[in-house]
Amino acid sequence: MTVLTESPARPGGAGGPSGGGRRLVELVLRAREMSILGGLVVLVAGTTIANPRFLSGQGVEDIFLNASILVLLAVGQTMVVVTRNIDLSVGSVVGLVAFSAGKFAAAGDHGVMVVLLFGVAIGLACGLVNGLLVSFCRVPALVVTLGTLYVIQGLGYRIAHGQQIGAAELPASVLSLGNDGILGVPYLPIITVAVMLAVGYYLRSYSSGREFYAIGSSPEAARLAGVPIRRRVLTAYLVSGALAGLAGVLWLARFGTVVADAAHGWELTVVSAVVVGGVAITGGVGTVYGAALGALLLTTIGSVLVVLKVNSFWQDAITGVLLLLAISVDRLLALRVTRALRQRSLESAVHRDVAEPAPRRKEGRT
C-alpha cells in the first residue's frame, strides 16, 4: 500500500513516466469510489425492479436516516485507520452516550444544544483515554480499544441498570432533531454531510491533514520528517470519540427509545464500512467520502434484504464477504499497480541511460 503513495513522488521526472504513474494511481483510487457507487446503483435498480415500492420517498428517506449515524462513525474511524490505528470502542461509546444523554435530557429538560454538548463531551473523554493510551503509552491500538470497548460497555450497563428511556420522557427539542428537518430534508443527513465535508476538506487540503496519511504510510519516515505523530494520533482518537458521542445523541433523537446496548456490535460494521470504502487497514490510503459510500452501501444492503424478504441473518455474512472482497481486491490491484510502476521506472531508467552516460558507469562497477 505504501508503494502506492510514495512511488509517484519522484522529482525530476515531470511530465515523463512518473506523471503517468500518478495518473494510474489516481485512477485506481478513484475507481474504488466509482465501483462502490456503481454497485449501489445496480443494487438499488435491481431491487426496484423486483419491488417498485423500494424507491418510494419513505424508503429512500429511511435509508439515508439509518445511514447517517453509520456514516458519522465511519468518518471518525477513517481518521483513525488512516494513521494505521483502529478504534473498536465506538459502538460502546454510542450506547453509553445514547443512554446517559437520554437520562440527562429527561432529568433536566435541557435544550437540544446542551444535550449535544453533553454527548460530545462524553465521547471526547472516551477518545482522550484511547488516544493517550495509544499515542503516549504506545500500546497496540487493537488491544487498547478492545479493552475500552469492554470497560465503556460495562459502564453503560451499570448506569442503565436494565432500564430503558422512552420517547415520552424526552424534551420535544431533542426528538425534533431526529424527526424534523429543513425544507423536507431531515437534520440527521444534513449534520452528517456537513461533518463529512469538513473532515474530508481538512484531511485533503491542510498540511496537518496530510500528516495523518504520512503517519499511516510510514510512521518512521513521518517521525524523521518532523510530523508530531503523538499529537496527530491523539487528535484522530479525539475526533473519533467526539463523533461517536454526536452519533449517540443522534441515535437518541432518532429512536427515542434507548437501552444501554444501543449500538452493540457496531464497531465491526463501522470498520467493515470503512474498509469496503477503500480505506486501507494498514494505513495511509483512503478518503472519508469512500468510507461514507461504504457505510451507505452496507445500510442499503440491509434495507434490500428486508424488501426482498431475504432472511436478515444473511446480512452479517454478506458484510463479512464484502469486507474480505474489498481487502483482497485492494491487495491484487496494489500488486498490479506496483508491477506497472516498476515496469515504467525500468523503461525510464533505460531512457535515461541512453541520454546520459553517468548511471552507466555506476552499472559497470557492479
Binding site: F313, G320, I327, S328
Partner: protein, 332 residues
C-alpha cells in the same frame, strides 16, 4: 540475558498474582476452595483454555485470529442443526471438526496467498462465520442432547476434581509447550514473530507455518464449539460471543508480546487460570456481569500497558546508568 530475566519476572508476577487471588478467594469465601467449585471453575474455562493454545502460537508468530469465537459459534450451531436432523454424534463430530479446519484454511489462505494482514482478514471472517452461524440456526436453541454426551463435558475424571475437557487441555498444553519451547518449529515461530523477512531469508517456510497455525486454530475452535455445546447442553448461534477477547486478554496477560517474537506458554496458562479464578470469585460474590466486563477490559489494558511502562522505565534507568558510567569513566 536481561531480557530473559524480565520475561521470567513477568510470568512470576502473574503466577504470584494467581496464588494471591487463590488464597484471598479461599479466605473470602469458604465455598471457593471446595473441590466442587474448583472443578466447576476449571470446566468453565475449557473453551478459553483450549483456544488460547493455538492463539499463543499465532501471536508469538506475529499474527492474530479474531474469528475463533465465531468459528465456535458456527460449529455449535452446526452441531445443533445436525443433531436436530437426527444425525448421530459420532458423525456430527468429524463433520464439525472438518468445518473448523475449512474456516481456518480460509483465514490462512487469505493471509498467506494474498499477503493480507491477519487482523483485517479475521475481522472479516469473524463477521462472516457468525453470520453463517445465524443462517444455520437462526435465533433458536437446540438443547435436547442426551445426558451420556453432556455428562462427558461436565463430569470429572473419577476420584479427581479434574473435568474431562480440562484433562484434554492438559495433554494438548503439554504438546503445545513442547512444540513451542523444545523444537525447531517453535524456534522458527519466534523467529517469524521477531523479524519475518529475516526468518524467510534464513530458510524458514513462513507461509506454510502460518497456514498450518491458522488451520490448527480453526480446528481447535471447532472442537471448543462441540465442548461448549455439550457443556451447556444448548446449541445457539450466539454461543461464545466475544470469547475471542477473553482469549486474547489471557494470551497478552501471560506475557506474550502482541507484536510477536516473545512469550511463553507457561505464562499464558497461568494467565488463563488467573482469569478463570477471578471470574469465579466475582460470580461467587454475586458481582454483576457488567462489572465482570469492566474487569476483563481493564485486565486487557493493564496486560499490554504494564510491560510497556516497565520497558520505558528500564530504558530511562539504563540511559541514566549509561550516563553515570560514562561520567565516572571520564573523571579519572
Amino acid at each position: 540475558m536481561s531480557r530473559l530475566g524480565g520475561l521470567l519476572r513477568w510470568e512470576t508476577a502473574v503466577t504470584a498474582l494467581l496464588i494471591v487471588v487463590f488464597a484471598g478467594g479461599a479466605g473470602f469465601s469458604p465455598d471457593f476452595a471446595s473441590n466442587d467449585n474448583l472443578s466447576f471453575a476449571l470446566d468453565d474455562l475449557s473453551e478459553i483454555a483450549l483456544i488460547a493454545l493455538p492463539m499463543t502460537l499465532l501471536v508469538v508468530c506475529g499474527q492474530v485470529d479474531l474469528s475463533v469465537a465465531s468459528i465456535l459459534g458456527l460449529c455449535s450451531a452446526l452441531t445443533g442443526r445436525m443433531w436436530d436432523a437426527g444425525m448421530a454424534i459420532e458423525t456430527i463430530i468429524p463433520v464439525v471438526l472438518a468445518v473448523g479446519v475449512v474456516c481456518g484454511l480460509v483465514n490462512g489462505l487469505l493471509v498467506t496467498r494474498l499477503g493480507l494482514p491477519s487482523l483485517a482478514v479475521t475481522i472479516g471472517t469473524m463477521t462472516l462465520y457468525r453470520g453463517l452461524a445465524y443462517v444455520t440456526l437462526g435465533t433458536g436453541a437446540i438443547s435436547d442432547f442426551p445426558f451420556s454426551y453432556t455428562d462427558l463435558a461436565t463430569s470429572s475424571i473419577p476420584g479427581t476434581p479434574i473435568p474431562y475437557p480440562v484433562a484434554l487441555f492438559a495433554v494438548l498444553a503439554i504438546a503445545t509447550g513442547v512444540v513451542l519451547h523444545a523444537t525447531g518449529i517453535g524456534r522458527s515461530l519466534f523467529a517469524i514473530g521477531a523479524q519475518e523477512d529475516a526468518a524467510y531469508f534464513a530458510g524458514i517456510r513462513v507461509k506454510r507455518i502460518k497456514l498450518i497455525l491458522f488451520v490448527v486454530s480453526g480446528l481447535v475452535a471447532g472442537f471448543a464449539g462441540i465442548v461448549y455445546t455439550l457443556r451447556y447442553g444448548s446449541a445457539r448461534a450466539d454461543n461464545g460471543l466475544g470469547l475471542e477477547l477473553t482469549v486474547i486478554a489471557a494470551v497478552l496477560l501471560g506475557g506474550v508480546d502482541f507484536d510477536g517474537g516473545k512469550g511463553t506458554l507457561g505464562g499464558v496458562i497461568a494467565a488463563v487460570l488467573l482469569i478463570g479464578l477471578l471470574r469465579n470469585l466475582l460470580m461467587l460474590n454475586d458481582v454483576s456481569t457488567e462489572v465482570q466486563s469492566i474487569v476483563t477490559g481493564l485486565l486487557l489494558i493493564i496486560s499490554v500497558l504494564t510491560p510497556r511502562l516497565i520497558a520505558v522505565a528500564r530504558e530511562t534507568r539504563g540511559r541514566r546508568a549509561g550516563a553515570r558510567s560514562a561520567a565516572s569513566a571520564a573523571v579519572p
